[in-house]
């Protein structure tokens, strides 16, 4: 399937490239100190940080993959946006952000250093840096593959041009530049892809008609999950709640520095707390693009998937081709491009911070002037992009690596969530307990993956079903990795020496007095909006039960 684009579409695409480079160039003169480069000067409002928080995660690979997943699994895909995100985002804003933000750290590994010790920081920083570059390269390869498949562009040129553009604008403006471009991308995705849902609904004859024309098991979030065989994802409710809703979701949204860094860029604690809460409202709305397009494609498009002419991933491109005339076609392609590029910029800006502060400054050159670290951040940006290109070519040789992306999160983020949860809310948790618990959790998650992958143990040993899908296996593996880390951290902590409690002020619940500096009205409090967000979340789950 090829989309043909004409000169006016290229003009639309070109404007995007010129726009993002101009933003980077403009921001250069405001990017002088380490805080400017790595934390966007800590001057962002909750709106700016909130949209960037969401957009950093809203890449094109994800949008295309989730539209495909909606086609394949129906409305169950909305779990990724609702139970798989909202409770965790609210928890981060209300309970965790006071400890993260008030300690004035630059990164999540930086929190581990303050709360525990250097070895904990190094373990997390090293695993995060590797994961970020791997994911960044996988994204780059996926982008080139998509552009080659749907528009016929040369894969090498696509990778090089977008990687160089990302390198230039993050090099110039640091995190501010990455955040600005994430917000541009956020608007372009809505303006570029929303019409696909609207046109799908118009063509099919109205909202109710969609549900008339799809299979019964595709219409429900929960009522088909009592028995795994009743739903197309072959998973039960416990797997969704424990694996996705608890471990993977909390692990990603509360500890992955790629997203949390956006909240750190807020101008004060209230804005930092409001960041994930603002994002939660928009997160709940994304299924209107991804799920609706997947669902309308079911009756409108010819059959997709294995054994047919098109893969599931072609849902969005096929709808773009179906509805968009020249002009809008350029905008649709630009929306996908922007999604790819800002996803990569997010990874690179998180990588340069962790590399500079948590590895380079901690182990290679300590105590240098601020300017030195800004320069290192810029060099790390270029280095990160070069390594990502290398990872992308490596992925090209092993295309199945793309399937492992969710698995990578279950190796790194799921155990880390147990460590940070215990560190933040249990003062008796010790540096040795945290370190060995985290290491054992990461190794066991990876081991489970390998054992199942090479059929040494059956998938039913971890996922309770011989027919468990790849997705279900990921959910369950994440749960076990979290549980192993949680238990080992507690047991080892009980036998090792805790830090002096006087050192933990501002880092641990129960040892920190959180003060509100000025009286504010109820509707200005993050907690008020958190409750509203949770109510909408519950209503959506009940409507599509």
């Amino acid at each position: 399937m090829k989309i043909s684009i004409i000169w006016i579409d290229y003009v639309v695409i070109l404007i995007y490239f010129i726009g993002v480079l101009c933003i980077g160039w403009y921001l250069k003169k405001y990017t002088k100190t380490g805080d400017d480069f790595f934390l966007a000067g800590r001057r962002n409002s909750a709106w700016v940080a909130g949209l960037a928080f969401l957009a950093a995660n809203m890449g094109a690979v994800e949008l295309m993959g989730m539209a495909a997943s909606s086609y394949e699994y129906g409305i169950l895909t909305a779990h990724f946006y609702w139970i798989g995100a909202i409770p965790a985002m609210i928890f981060l804003g209300v309970f965790m952000m006071p400890f993260y933000y008030s300690s004035k750290i630059h990164s999540v590994p930086g929190y581990l250093k303050l709360r525990f010790d250097e070895k904990n920081r190094t373990l997390n920083a090293a695993s995060f840096a590797i994961m970020t570059l791997l994911v960044s390269g996988i994204n780059l390869y996926a982008m080139a593959l998509v552009l080659h498949t749907i528009i016929g562009w040369n894969m090498h040129a696509s990778m090089l041009i977008s990687a160089v553009t990302v390198a230039v604008y993050v090099y110039l403006g640091g995190l501010t530049s990455a955040i600005f471009n994430e917000i541009v991308q956020f608007f372009l995705i809505w303006f570029g892809l929303l019409l696909l849902s609207v046109f799908g609904i118009i063509e099919i004859g109205g909202w109710s008609q969609i549900f008339e024309r799809i299979p019964e098991s595709y219409k429900h979030l929960w009522s088909t999950t009592l028995n795994p065989t009743d739903n197309p994802m072959i998973i039960n409710w416990a797997g969704i709640v424990l694996g996705l809703g608890f471990v993977l979701s909390f692990g990603y949204w509360t500890t992955d520095f790629l997203v949390v860094q956006r909240a750190f860029s807020s101008r004060d604690l209230r804005a930092a707390q409001a960041t994930p809460i603002v994002a939660s409202f928009f997160k709940m709305a994304i299924p209107f693009i991804v799920c609706v397009t997947g669902l309308v494609a079911l009756p409108l498009l010819p059959k997709l998937g294995p054994g047919t002419e098109h893969s599931y991933n072609e849902v969005l491109p096929l709808l773009i081709k179906r509805y968009y005339p020249p002009g809008l076609m350029g905008l649709g392609v630009t929306a996908l491009l922007a999604g790819f590029m800002s996803g990569q910029a997010g990874n690179i800006s998180a990588f340069n911070t962790v590399w500079t502060y948590d590895l380079y400054r901690a182990h290679i050159i300590k105590g240098a002037p601020d300017k030195h670290y800004v320069l290192m951040g810029r060099i790390a940006t270029l280095g990160g992009v070069v390594i990502s290109i290398g990872t992308a070519y490596w992925t090209m040789g092993f295309p199945s690596i793309m399937d492992y992306m969710q698995a990578i999160f279950s190796w790194v983020n799921a155990p880390l969530f147990a460590t940070i949860l215990l560190g933040m809310f249990w003062k008796r948790c010790t540096p040795n307990g945290a370190f060995w618990g985290l290491l054992i959790g990461m190794v066991s998650s990876f081991t489970m993956f390998i054992l199942v992958k090479y059929n040494i143990i059956s998938v039913s040993a971890i996922a309770f079903s011989e027919n468990a899908s790849l997705m279900a296996a990921n959910f369950w593996r994440a749960w076990w990795a979290w549980l192993i880390t949680f238990v080992f951290t507690i047991v080892i902590s009980l036998f090792t020496k805790p830090k002096d409690y006087s050192e933990l002020n501002g880092l641990v619940y129960g040892l920190t007095k959180i003060t509100q500096t000025k009286e504010i009205k109820y509707y200005q409090k993050p907690l008020f909006w958190a409750v509203i967000s949770l109510i909408i979340f519950l209503i959506l789950n009940i409507i599509y039960w």
Partner: protein, 77 residues
């Protein structure tokens, strides 16, 4: 605005300014194509008769102007 060195510098344009400019630019291009299609209808796509370039371009221009106003208001503050 004061930076960390205590030196004053001019106030940075906010993100709404840039997003507003981009939306207006795209809105103008889509609207012009839409006007062209009023006289030369494009029917190679489904629902092409609705001329989406025209009204979607208009919505983008209005959204871009609203963002410009938000940006102007925050600069004045």
């Amino acid at each position: 605005m004061e930076n960390l060195n205590g030196k004053t510098q001019d106030k940075m344009l906010d993100i709404w300014f840039f997003v507003g400019i981009i939306l207006i630019a795209y809105g103008v291009i889509l609207s012009l194509i839409g006007i062209y299609y009023i006289f030369n209808p494009y029917t190679d796509v489904i629902l092409g008769n609705l001329n989406p370039n025209l009204w979607w371009g208009g919505i983008m221009i209005v959204s871009g102007i609203i963002l410009q106003l938000i940006s102007y208001h925050s600069r004045k503050k």
